[in-house]
Subunit: 199 residues, 2 copies
């Protein structure tokens, strides 16, 4: 086996650990929490299926790549739920710094050249500036909303989330990349908040 | 919400069920079996990372799309382990027919046009003729081998698999798309079979 292949297989073996990182959101049947590996599959599938929602300048294949890679840092850092601690933990400087260290370690397992290439894609996603990153980030945010809705409230119940909080913590970010999609999803989920006295 | 978007979100919601389809292969730490959604993420990541192994005519983005979609039929049919019933169940005509019915139902949830497009990608994967399908199929076969090896034998123990059986049921299929990769993986895993008296 070449060194190059050994490094690539080493990275892929390390990536298996993402299957043991659990998120706040549960499966629709509430049987268990979703893990970050299967969440990554979901959002990559979203990027494929919802591609006609993408605006100009979005590279769908690159968005899918971003979404396959975006959560790998959680192998070291864990998932930080968006509704935890009133929404403040998720974007803290400490979490950001820990995720950057994790990205350096994980992508650093890959051969030279490929390591830098994959890190650049992850950084583009994190930066959230390019149309492709905005598209990918919007999908990453909207899938848990639909999952919670499909599961009768899911982590909205656990974290006592109101419709205004959803709008503020999640909606604004989805709308940045996919305004029409957020408009539609917003109307779709609002009745749940109304009927639970949270809107 | 437009009908088109409602259909797409309906498909994505149905796809969530793949997270509850469990495979024969366990995670490396043997804590639980792998499900087909996270397996799909793994093999899509393999397609991305191992792209320098791909031969001429392989479209990496299309291979990733294939691998995101390839197991959805298991929502209706379940996973048929490759080593079950001496390797004969996996490729039976009855399974193939059931999977084709499942593909028609599942992709049929999508809007017209997109349904046919996704079904065509799934059929290309199933056909295993194009360079892209051969690449994707080889990765789909090799990931469980590396997972079993990382997990100290995993489902090889359960199904009492010998090195010759691995070669015959799996190796031949991996080598069809990625001969050099199989050569390397074969040498990498052989010592396990030797040390367990199965080679």
């Amino acid at each position: 086996m070449t060194d190059r292949l050994a490094q690539q297989l080493g990275f892929l073996r390390e990536a298996e650990k993402l299957k043991s990182v659990y998120r706040a959101t549960a499966l629709p049947d509430q049987s268990r929490r979703e893990n970050s590996a299967e969440h990554s599959w979901s959002v990559a599938l979203y990027a494929l299926i919802l591609q006609d929602q993408a605006g100009e300048g979005v590279d769908i294949a690159r968005a899918i790549t971003m979404l396959l890679l975006h959560d790998l840092v959680e192998i070291d850092v864990g998932d930080v739920p968006i509704h935890a601690q009133g929404g403040s933990a998720h974007s803290s400087a400490a979490v950001k710094e820990a995720e950057e260290r994790a990205a350096a370690r994980l992508f650093g397992l890959l051969p030279e050249g490929q390591a830098e290439q994959m890190l650049a894609i992850w950084l583009e996603f994190e930066g959230g500036v390019t149309p492709t990153a905005l598209y990918a980030r919007a999908l990453d945010r909207v899938q848990p909303v639909l999952l919670n809705h499909a599961g009768g409230g899911g982590s909205w119940r656990e974290y006592d989330v109101s419709f205004d909080q959803l709008e503020e913590r999640v909606g604004v970010k989805v709308a940045r990349g996919l305004p029409a999609l957020w408009q539609a999803v917003r109307e779709h989920v609002k009745p749940w908040f109304v009927s639970h006295g949270k809107a």
